[in-house]
Structure formats: C-alpha cells, structure tokens
C-alpha cells in the first residue's frame, strides 16, 4: 500500500517539476492535470471514493478553465535569466527548504505512522452514526449533518468566487 502510493507520488512530483519548467504553458497546464489525476488514484487506494469523484470532476473543470485562459495567448514562457540576484535568491530558498524539510522530519517523528490512526472526534461520526443521521454514506453524514455549517461555508465560498468572477470580468469598471 505504502509502496504503491509512494510510486504514484514519485510520478506526481516529476509531473509537478515538469509543469513548473515547461516552456509551453499548455503543456504546463496538462502536466498539472497529471498531478491532479494522480491524486485521484491515491484517493481511490486510500478508500476515499467520494473524494475521487469530486477531485476527478473538479480537476477536469479546472483544466478546461485554465486551457480556455491559456489557449489564445502566446503560450510561451519567457526564460528566467540566472543573474546574480536570482542565484542568491535560489540559494536562500534552498536553505530555507532544507530547514523546513528537516523540521518536518523531526515534527512527524512522534506522530502515528500510516495506518495506525485512532478516532477521537470522529468516533461519533462512525459508530452509530447511521442511526443518528440516517445517512449510509458516512462522509455525507459528516458533511450535511454533523458539520453542515462547514458545508454552508464551502457553498458560500463557491458562490463568492462566481460573484467575484462576474465582478472582475466586467468590461468597464467605472461609469463614464
């Protein structure tokens, strides 16, 4: 299990690095799609079918939107020149990354390894939840009953984004 996911993750990392370095923006967007669809497989392996469905649809729609934006541009990325300041920035960034990585290793050392998770808050969401909410799908039970307030917030965020997109894409901002 752990090995399979690690291999998929390896491919996802390669895809991500390619997406960041591709000259053509369209290939970069497609490479991001690879990372997203790799995530779908991981979700399926980790017994999260709800997430797999949502992720595959949302990833497709994100790709459509991004391709629609990229498609009628020049699509070429101008190369980042490696002047002295950029190199210095890169060195500093890598030192910070190394530090973060080391701290992350130290931090997760004491935490539960993969597969040995125990329940505290979700105890109620699993045991006897079917009688409490009436929903056979436990994730739906959490989303729409135990934590329905979060779901309202989530729907509001999507609504805000739609309203924001309508607002930002007006042709004229000010009356003349």
């Amino acid at each position: 299990m752990e090995l399979t996911i690690s291999i998929i993750l390896g491919f996802m990392i390669i895809g991500a690095i390619y997406a960041l370095h591709a000259r053509d923006l369209l290939s970069a967007v497609i490479a991001m799609g690879i990372v997203g669809y790799g995530l779908v497989i991981c979700f399926l392996l980790l017994k999260a079918p709800d997430l797999a469905i949502v992720q595959i649809v949302v990833e497709t729609i994100t790709l459509v939107i991004m391709v629609a934006v990229v498609l009628d541009s020049t699509r070429k990325e101008i190369e980042v020149k490696a002047d002295r300041r950029a190199v210095l920035n890169l060195v500093v960034a890598f030192i910070i990354f190394a530090g973060l990585f080391y701290f992350f290793l130290l931090a997760i050392e004491s935490l539960d390894p993969l597969g040995t998770h125990t329940l505290r808050m979700s105890e109620t969401y699993v045991n006897g939840a079917v009688e409490k909410t009436g929903s056979v799908n436990l994730v739906t039970g959490v989303l729409f009953d135990f934590r329905a307030y979060d779901t309202l917030g989530e729907a509001v965020i999507l609504y805000t984004a739609a309203l924001g997109a309508l607002t930002l894409l007006r042709l004229k901002g000010k009356k003349t």
Binding site: P49, D50, A52, I53, V54, V57, V58, T60, I61, V64, I65, A68, V69, D72, V130, E131, T133, G134, S135, V136, N137, V139, T140, G141, L143, F144, D145, A148, Y149, T151, L152, E154, A155, V156, L158, Y159, A161, A162, L163, A165, L166, L169, L171
Partner: protein, 145 residues
Amino acid sequence: MEGMSTIVKKVTQLVAGLIFIYGIYIILHGHLTPGGGFAGGAIIAGAFILLILAFGSNALKLKKEVKGSSNTESVAILMVVILACMALLFGAKVFFGNFAGKGNPGELLSAGVIPLYNIFIGIEVAGAILTIFLALVIFKEESSK
C-alpha cells in the same frame, strides 16, 4: 465563439444527456453511495460546458445564460440557508438541525433533510461553476472584438 464539426455536435448531444442524468443520479444517491451534491453539481456543470464548447454561441446569448445561472445559484443557496434556519422552527430548534424523520437507512427517502441539502447544494455548485465558465468566455468574446 464558433462551434465544432457536425460529428462532434451529434456525439455531444448524446453524451451530454447521459452525463446530465448521471449527475442527477449522483446527487440523489448522495447519502447512499459515494458522491453527493458537490460531485453531482460539478458533473452537471460539466455537461453544460461540453454543450457550450461543442455548439458555440455568441456573447449576447451567453449573457442571457449567465443571468439565468447566477439567479439559479442564488435561489439554490438561499434555499440552503432557509433550510438551515427552518431547523430553528421545527424539532430541536437549533440552527442546522436535521429535523425531518430519519426513515429507514439505506432507502432513497431517508436521512431526514440530507437529500434536500444535497439537491440544493448540487444546483448551487452547478450554477456557480457554470457562471464562472460563462463569465470567462463572455469576457474573452467581448474583449477580443
């Protein structure tokens, strides 16, 4: 925006209908099988996006559609909040209470108000995603003139 070839149009007509029905199925069975309002709503929005891409449209028509989709999502999310507030009046008298009868777990008509939430969230998500897409397309059409 121009449409695509006749073959694409015919195939899309077939496929979009199927995708649409699949989205409705996912929404209605949200409390029984994987999926729910979010997945189903996004699938339905995908069906509409497919139709728009295949058949093409002009900015004027799309503007009418974006009005419709934005009104739909407003009504749907208003219904979600009203449903949440209705719990204040019935049953446990708490915000977001699941006040309706739970029924027999595993049946289509069960789990109290959860299916209703699923339906309205589904409509809202479909409307919101469609609005975002249409806003982008309309802007591209209008600004490239």
